[in-house]
């Protein structure tokens, strides 16, 4: 009995500790999400957490002191005496409210009362500004209207799709063919080739960049979609081959033998048997490769560079961080736009996603 109650107690502790850790893990993303919907002027004035109901001093009333009040003498306010310094910092009055200078020169005092407050000003302007690339207006608190140019993120979003889909399909198709040969065909140099594939798994991409960049310059591929597809295809191949190999080599031998008996060729076996059977694995590695390309910054930076019409999301956001580092309303919205796809995949295809990420974790 005692034992059980101790266990139950420790379970509560575990739950609380874990909940705190989870909260810490979630807060950064929540902060981004909330901020991306707050008006530009609010973001820089109050923290995003003020959207949660919180206690704050709110001006309830004002007191006008005689204009000739001497600030060097003790000051009489509603029958109580305060010093100038106290009023500057804010001081508690007898009834629980706080007195504070509203305008020291005009001798007006704010009567502040602690009350529940919640910043509920939200807007979708940030997203409009970020997505359309058109100019839009921000009204400042003091009434001035500023015009700012948005960022044309929708074009970048599209470009990222254009980069990601072929850069996923091409390597995985090629890799699956190779994986079948490695797993089920016997040929000279098979071991050597496979060892090379394994070795290339963790090789840092930097090792290949200077030579490829030179080849691309010679071929006119810098800053083109074709160039970045090929680069991603090459860089994705070792992992895709290994991933597909480990699945295809586990398939039962009898499966092919009976097909062979029936006179099916390797090509038929591959397209009619292997491919359909490998769909779950292909899905996992495709999701991994797709997200890898979607989230990639390094390869895009090197091979796309500054080409404006093929700009991908990660490049665009990195640019914005550099050029408009304090425009948090735009940065947060842009970052969230880039996260839409990964989050959709994460929540929609979680099983394949996790399997793909775990298998793909070795990628260079």
């Amino acid at each position: 009995m005692r034992r059980r109650s101790r266990r139950a107690g420790s379970k509560t502790v575990v739950n609380v500790v874990l909940a705190v850790i989870c909260l810490i893990w979630l807060i950064p993303t929540i902060g981004l999400f909330v901020s991306s919907f707050r008006p530009a002027t609010e973001i820089l004035k109050t923290g995003w957490w003020t959207v949660v109901p919180h206690k704050e001093n709110v001006a309830k009333d004002q007191i006008q002191l005689p204009k000739d009040t001497d600030l060097r003498q003790p000051i009489q306010v509603n029958g109580q005496t305060f010093s100038d310094d106290q009023l500057r910092e804010g001081v508690k009055a007898a009834d629980g409210t706080t007195f504070m200078w509203q305008n020291r020169r005009a001798r007006t005092i704010d009567v502040l009362e602690a009350g529940w407050k919640m910043n509920t000003e939200f807007t979708t302007e940030n997203y409009k500004g970020v997505l359309t690339g058109k100019t839009y207006e921000i009204k400042d608190t003091d009434g001035t209207v500023k015009t700012k140019k948005g960022n044309g993120m929708s074009q970048a979003f599209l470009n990222t799709l254009v980069v990601s889909i072929p850069a996923t399909i091409i390597p995985i198709l090629i890799a699956t063919f190779a994986a079948y040969a490695f797993a089920w065909l016997r040929f000279p140099l098979r071991k050597t080739m496979f060892v090379i594939v394994i070795m290339l798994l963790v090789v840092p991409l930097q090792i290949a960049m200077i030579p490829i960049l030179r080849d691309y310059t010679a071929l006119g591929l810098n800053g083109t979609f074709l160039g970045i597809w090929l680069a991603h295809a090459g860089f994705g191949l070792p992992l895709a081959t290994y991933f597909m190999y480990s699945y295809i080599s586990q398939l039962p031998r009898d499966l092919f033998e009976s097909a062979f008996m029936d006179g099916a060729s390797n090509f038929t076996i591959f397209t009619r048997l292997i491919l359909p059977l490998s769909v779950p694995s292909i899905a996992s590695i495709s999701i991994f490769q797709f997200l890898w390309v979607w989230n990639d910054y390094l390869v895009a930076l090197i091979f796309i560079g500054n080409q404006p019409d093929v700009q991908v999301l990660s490049m665009k956001i990195a640019d914005m961080v550099g050029t408009r580092g304090n425009d948090w309303h735009l940065l947060t919205a842009a970052a969230f736009v880039s996260m839409l796809m990964p989050l959709a995949v994460f929540f929609g295809l979680q099983k394949y996603f996790v399997r793909g990420l775990l298998g793909g974790s070795v990628k260079g």
Binding site: K11, P28, P171, L185, P204, F267, M339, L343
Partner: protein, 360 residues
Amino acid sequence: MIASAATPGMVRKILLSILVPAFNVLLHTGIFIFLRDSDLNSIVYAVLAILWGVVGVYFMYWSLNWVVEQYSDVWRRRIQPFLFVGPAFLLLSWLLLIPTIRTLIMSFQNAASTEFVGFANYAAVFTDRLLITALRNNLLWVVFGATACIVLGLLIAVLADRSSFERTAKVIIFLPMAISFVAAGVIWKFIYYYQPGDEQVGLLNAIVVALGGEPQAWTSMTQPWNNLFLIVILIWMQTGFAMVIFSAALKGVPDDILEAARVDGAGEIRIFFRIIIPFIMTTILSVSTTIVVFTLKIFDVVMIMTGGQYNTDVVATQFYRQLFMFQNNGYGSTLAIILLIAVIPVIIFNLRQIRKQGGF
């Protein structure tokens, strides 16, 4: 008789063996040049590319395979495997294998890769202040980042295993793995944001001010410890990976061993260090190598957060800087080779693991 009967067939086979590959080469070169030079709407372009990627690549395999099917059994069995691995291997050779060798050669050449300079670049890497800083920071990343990911990952996996909301907790911790380092950079830059005055909208500075401290510009303050604030981002993103794998490994620890230990009066902490840790040691090792490799190659976070300023450069960002700002192929290649050397133990480890599993 036999010879004359074989000849027309032979001629046909030889013709096919030349024409079909030649046609493929022409076709794909044509598509290649068309895709490179055409100025299409990007959606049309993408659709064409997808068609090429699927139909074109498939057609290549299919047509070449059809040629091979015309050969005698013996030759077919010899050639067909190369048809299957060939395209993959050619692409790998062009984009990874040969570049590695070319980079190695360039690391012994001068900035413009015009003449050989022996080990001068390597000597520079260990004497140039910029490059030493990069090496030191990479070490910081590995020591603090990788260790924290593994320890936290294990801790959270154990806690989740004993909690009442395991699935939810795992989803929350794993979530940051899905997003890009660039987006994560924006998220954390906002958390570290500093503006003069009392009203701080960056979460970290707001907390510091609320506790009565002075707000700081975290990513540029006391070097080299500002690196730790960047490393936190890695920890936030990669702990989920370690956790998921550890969590699976923990489920493999047999319950009866744990029960027996409890009956013998062993405390939970003792059980953890004496039974669970040894049991999942191989998993810990492989997760560690993966995270270390990942950490060695860290690039995006640093680029977004500081651009390598304030002594936060790592090898990968210094590589970029040498390549694009100083146009120094020699230093750039040498840094790439150093990254490669750093992962060689992992390559050997991987090969051993796969050999053990009977991979080849």
